[in-house]
């Protein structure tokens, strides 16, 4: 079948031309499914597992009407808007409404992530590795790879929708709304598959392509959160975000399917842009020809420390800009939030902190935790970059110079530690400054920076865990994400989960005082710093003693 289409390949237009551009798509789809036979089911079942788990755990957690009310009050207002969504039906809470309205965000995000990585994996990663060249040299049309990838992504998200629908029905909730929720999750996945179809065309590097799509996901999150904070049930601003479309289906409240049409249309439009861009570039290359650079290294680039900075610089700049922008947005909307809170019933205000000023302190402290988690992502990615320096064979020539293992690894750790502090200051400063301008009180600048900076020891512990794994068990470095994810769950949902204190204590972030709401406590920060130093030392020692992994 493929050969017949190929013989028609020279025809540039018409049905034959279109057919040849897609030649081999079916084979590629099967090939991709075969390559992903473990990865994809793991993602799908993993995400579905959370739905099943929440469905089973939440009724245990919130046994009485009173428990449900307490959490819904907690989730009303800016905090809920920030970490969860528009909060439909939270005022009349049931378990399924809580699951969709609050935990649903953390089902949507992994689905988007799954799609981003899937599209990247089968397009740009293949091109960068040079494997796409082999494939394209056989009877495979120009658009076959992207088309096959998008088909696989669409199928994956559809299966996910069905699995989630089945899981909700299995939990004993209404099956129709369950399917709507599943479809909402799948639609978000599809939308970001579309976004990634564009980003993989733009840049030559798979890491940058995934990063760009991640930035789009982050922006969608920030826009949605800001929009949801402005108005209960979301504002016009929310509707600019693909994540909002999935949340606006209001499953289990008054379910509606039409917002998902936006998601599908958006995905289709993005994919179309991807196709157009792909015709303007060559296999393996980006949209823009690589620029030429300096003929020699700058004079400051002469030690392992400056070299580590040079390699991490792009990440630092990108994260710094993104975090500062997010901080400015979240700070800029504080005034309308304060106004909105003042209209809330007295008992709700009491839960939120008593009065508007106190409430703003609470907001800053939640934002600081949130930002610290994001800086944690930067830290882990930074160590993973180091790991890919090793596995891609770029560390080898460097370590064959007079650069010791200790200097190489230590330099990167130093850059990451200082970078984390710099990012905390940048985002804390931007948030504080925007808040100060918004509510007219300059004191918030210092408050916000301090509220962020206190997380430094916790982030150092995270860096220490990653360093320890890199030095001792490099293949398991991904486990650091578990520490961060645990910190996120405990940080945001811990207060409403019925867990023993020692479980809370396992998260390094829990030992940090939530400034400016709480009093600054030095002792835990000191202890965390000591623990971090120990972890880093073991990591460095381990790396000095192990084999370098070579290509």
């Amino acid at each position: 079948m493929t050969t017949t289409t190929a013989t028609r390949a020279p025809a540039p237009t018409g049905p034959a031309g279109a057919g040849s551009a897609l030649a081999g798509t079916g084979t590629l789809v099967r090939f991709m499914l075969r390559r992903d036979r473990i990865k994809l089911p793991a993602w799908l079942l993993g995400i579905t597992f959370f739905v099943v788990y929440y469905g089973a755990a939440l009724p245990q957690l919130y046994r009485t009407e009173g428990d449900l009310r307490a959490i819904s009050t907690f989730m009303t207002g800016p905090v809920g808007a920030l970490i969860a969504g528009p909060g439909y039906g939270v005022d009349d809470p049931t378990v399924e409404r809580l699951l969709v309205g609050i935990y649903g965000m953390y089902i949507i995000l992994p689905a988007a992530l799954m799609s981003i990585l899937l599209v990247c994996r089968h397009t740009r990663v293949e091109e960068q590795a040079g494997r796409a060249e082999l494939v394209r040299a056989s009877v495979v049309g120009r658009h076959a790879q992207l088309t096959a990838t998008l088909i696989v992504a669409a199928v994956a998200n559809m299966v996910l929708a069905l699995l989630i629908g089945a899981a909700m029905a299995g939990n004993g909730f209404d099956a129709g709304d369950g399917l709507l929720f599943g479809a909402s999750v799948g639609a978000a996945g599809l939308a970001f598959a579309g976004v990634t179809a564009v980003t993989v065309q733009v840049t030559e590097y798979s890491r940058a392509a995934a990063g760009l799509a991640g930035v789009a996901l982050g922006a969608a999150y920030v826009i949605r959160a800001a929009g949801d904070m402005l108005d209960e049930g979301g504002s016009a601003l929310s509707w600019l975000s693909p994540i909002a479309w999935s949340q606006q289906t209001r499953a289990y409240v008054d379910g509606r399917w039409w917002p998902l049409a936006l998601s599908v249309a958006f995905a289709a439009a993005a994919a179309a842009v991807g196709y157009v861009l792909s015709t303007r570039r060559d296999v393996g290359l980006g949209l823009f020809a690589a620029r030429r650079g300096a003929p020699g290294a700058a004079s400051w680039l002469r030690s392992s420390l400056t070299f580590a900075f040079r390699l991490q610089r792009a990440g630092l700049i990108g994260w710094g800009a993104a975090l500062a922008a997010a901080g400015a947005i979240y700070g800029g909307i504080t005034e309308p939030i304060v106004d909105a809170v003042e209209d809330l019933p007295a008992d709700v205000i009491a839960v939120l902190g008593g009065d508007a000023a106190n409430m703003l302190d609470g907001y800053l402290s939640v934002m600081a935790l949130f930002d610290a988690l994001l800086v944690g992502v930067f830290v882990i990615l930074g160590v993973q970059l180091l790991r890919s320096e090793e596995t891609k064979g770029r560390a080898e020539p460097v370590l064959a110079t007079a650069t010791s293992r200790w200097a190489w690894f230590g330099s990167h750790l130093t850059v990451l530690a200082l970078g984390a502090v710099g990012l905390l200051v940048a985002v804390g400063g931007a948030l504080g400054a925007a808040t100060a301008i918004s509510v007219g009180d300059a004191g918030y600048v210092g408050d916000s920076v301090a509220a962020h900076l206190v997380y430094t020891p916790a982030l150092l512990v995270l860096l220490g865990v990653a360093a320890l794994l890199f030095g001792v068990l490099p293949r398991a470095i991904g486990a650091t994400w578990g520490v961060l994810g645990f910190g996120l769950i405990i940080g945001f949902f811990g207060p409403i989960m019925d867990l023993p204190q020692w479980v809370h204590n396992l998260s390094p972030l829990e030992h940090i005082a939530r400034l400016p709401l709480e009093q600054l406590t030095w002792a835990p920060m000191l202890i965390l710093t000591v623990i971090a130093a120990g972890l880093l030392a073991i990591g460095l020692y381990g790396f000095r003693r192990r084999d370098l992994e070579t290509k």
Partner: protein
């Protein structure tokens, strides 16, 4: 004669793979030493152990009088390394990579760097990923040769270089040799080894199976003789070390082990030599004897040759 590098009984395993299985190697100061062997023989692994990038399970290695693992940094100041498959940083230019690697080694000879860049016809302003395979290789070669290292560890340095660049490379190795530098050159290009190397070690399955100068190796291996004699030559097949005798009226063709060449020629002269050609074994023939699995299968027939050639130091 001082030794730049001496290795004995080196063992390195990766799980169930024995990449190095009791490797012995010795390289004298100022020598260009060829390191040959089939794919997967353990050449790169050996070089990485010598660089302290891998930790050997057992055995001893000394490099420039130091221990490759414990004195890595000090030794690296005095040596330069070219990997066989160079990976560059995608967002750094080739020129930046050259400078950086040289500076991290402890200094850069700017004039020499520029000369190398020019001779190798390298555009130093391109970003890492936009280099072709051969040009990536050149970046590492330039970085290594621009240094004043006294020892060069080269792991298939010219894989992917075009013939013109191969000549430039050989020029620089001759220069390095003239300057008294020691070179360990792992290569699959036999012509290159033949031209550049004073001594050669052939490694197979993690062990050195033959080591010595090319002349010595030739001597220890069979030479092919073709002769025309006045009367048909007889009695050759009975001589020790003579093999595969073929011949008819006046022409004879046989192979003879190096150490028995004298006897064979003596015998020939008795029949009146009219013409005589001898082919010393090419490096290729030497290599083929050690590559491939038939060696083990035919171990018996080759045992005499191998026994004599195992250690020639």
């Amino acid at each position: 004669m001082t030794t730049a590098m001496s290795v004995s009984g080196l063992v390195k395993t990766f799980g169930s793979t024995r990449a190095l299985d009791g490797l012995d190697l010795s390289v004298a100061t100022g020598e260009v030493h060829g390191f040959l062997g089939p794919n997967g023989a353990g050449k790169s692994t050996a070089i990485r152990v010598l660089l302290g990038l891998l930790h050997a399970d057992s055995g001893r290695a000394t490099l420039l009088g130091g221990d490759p693992w414990n004195d890595a940094v000090e030794l690296h100041r005095r040596l330069a390394y070219v990997p066989g498959d160079v990976e560059l940083w995608p967002n750094l230019t080739g020129g930046e990579a050259i400078d950086l690697l040289a500076r991290l080694r402890g200094g850069l000879n700017k004039a020499r760097r520029d000369e190398l860049v020019e001779r190798f016809d390298l555009d130093p302003r391109k970003k890492g990923r936009t280099y072709s395979k051969g040009n990536r290789q050149k970046v590492a070669i330039v970085a290594a040769l621009a240094s004043d290292a006294e020892l060069l560890l080269l792991d298939e340095p010219t894989a992917g270089l075009d013939p013109l660049m191969e000549v430039v490379f050989q020029d620089f190795i001759f220069q390095a040799k003239a300057a008294g530098k020691t070179v360990l050159l792992s290569s699959h290009i036999l012509a290159q080894v033949e031209k550049l190397c004073d001594r050669v070690s052939i490694i197979r399955l993690g062990k050195v199976v033959q080591s010595g100068s090319l002349t010595e190796m030739r001597h220890l291996t069979r030479t092919t003789i073709e002769a025309e004699t006045a009367q048909p030559a007889a009695g050759l097949a009975e001589l020790p070390g003579v093999h595969d005798v073929q011949g008819d009226d006046g022409r004879v063709h046989f192979a003879v082990d190096g150490e028995h060449l004298d006897g064979a020629i003596r015998q020939l002269t008795r029949f009146g030599i009219r013409s005589l050609t001898s082919h010393p074994p090419t490096l290729e023939e030497l290599m083929l004897r050690h590559y491939g699995d038939e060696l083990e299968a035919n171990g018996g027939t080759h045992a005499d040759a191998d026994a004599g050639t195992g250690e020639t130091r």
